[in-house]
Subunit: 244 residues, 2 copies
């Protein structure tokens, strides 16, 4: 059984302020937690789970603390808690050199979009995602949830002073509405894909840098594409690798 203080401590990780103070975050749900347990890079501080999870997964983390369904509901950030909550140490992040392909996110605010973009990066083996000030917090539980454990495999660097892009020599590909159609792009091995805010697009300041404008041609009438969907589509055309 958890003490009131333990419950309060875990709940506090729903807030960015406490996450930063403690250097911790939470990940939830059967799939997310079991994927994270496989990652050497994921440093687990504690796992809390109900009996059915423990019965099947005890070997994965013998120190797991058994909790009741009611306790699970109290410590979970999800509407529908899913058996297990893990508390992890935040990752060590390094400022990336622009090698290979990387993604630069300009004020991506929706946690679901942000997490999904990290998962896309991982799918295409992109090692670095750089975030401008104004992006969602990586350790927001909804972001963590949407990454589906890719959070442990991608280096996510916050460029809070806005100086990273200017230092890079790699070509910048800016996703806009009136650029070169993605279908004409050559396959690339190096470059930075720049994705703008969900409603405002890429900031004027960033667009003053040398870049190539690229576009997913619109054939129908939707006003825009979801930012994560656009990221996935463009990456697939930049990478075009047939390896399976």
């Amino acid at each position: 059984m958890l003490s009131k203080k333990e419950i309060k401590d875990i709940q506090s990780l729903g807030h960015k302020k406490y996450r930063e103070e403690l250097g911790l975050f939470i990940a939830e749900g059967v799939k997310n937690v079991s994927e994270l347990l496989k990652e050497q890079n994921a440093s687990i501080k504690a796992i809390y789970a109900i009996e059915t999870w423990i019965n099947e997964n005890r070997h994965l983390y013998p120190q797991t603390v058994e909790i009741s369904e009611i306790e699970l509901e109290r410590i979970s950030q999800l509407k529908e808690p899913n058996k297990v909550v893990a508390v992890l140490h935040q990752f060590t992040v390094k400022e990336p050199a622009s090698e290979g392909i990387s993604i630069y996110l300009d004020r991506i605010q929706d946690p679901g979009n942000f997490g999904t973009i990290i998962r896309i990066a991982d799918w295409f083996n992109i090692k670095n995602v750089v975030c401008s000030a104004g992006c969602a917090d990586l350790y927001n539980p909804k972001v963590v949830q949407s990454t589906m454990a890719s959070i442990a495999r991608v280096n996510i660097y916050y460029d809070l002073e806005g100086k990273w892009l200017a230092k890079q020599s790699a070509k910048i590909y800016a996703a806009v509405l009136d650029g070169k159609p993605i279908y004409s792009l050559q396959k690339i091995k190096e470059g930075i894909l720049l994705i703008g805010n969900e409603s405002k697009g890429i900031s004027e300041e960033l667009l003053q840098m040398n870049h190539e404008k690229i576009t997913i041609p619109r054939l129908g009438h939707a006003e825009s594409l979801n930012a994560a969907v656009a990221t996935g589509i463009i990456l697939s055309h930049l990478i075009k690798s047939n390896e399976l």
Copy 2:
């Protein structure tokens, strides 16, 4: 000011049962509602909005009912209500002939994914999305929200008896993990893209039909891609049109 009964009636549209009984649904927020107001196909029954929205948009719908912030909170399905709630008549749907490209969704359950796929269809000018039994309800407020008004421009047909696919002559492209890489696909003008459930994939029954398996090659380690992202990527490679 709204009566208790009016508030209750609007709130009831959060539930599928009442939506079906009344043939109505709600759409919310400044962007969604202003986009829907431009669509001939969207038949509006009523709009409720706070003063600031009415001041700017009165000409769009003169019969708009002014409500208070508190009333808005009561009738809204959103965590953060956004000025305006519209009540609309459900769309007339026809069983689509398979002409051009269409999408078949097998038990897509996440409302955000479902709505985002409808928006992607609209972007690529796909006229028909067919849904198996077990897909989310089109008029779920979260689905409506994610479509960003594309709900009024795409014909969304529920194939509840599971007989539609077998009647089509167009080629079926099934999105799986071990198919032909999308980068080898020829551009097509006709075909049906089959997308499976978020965790279970495409059902055995559907996979017994004649189809071509296609895959977005995985270069990194993510276990899967989000269903909406995968739909967007695959469509872009099937369509490959440089028209802007």
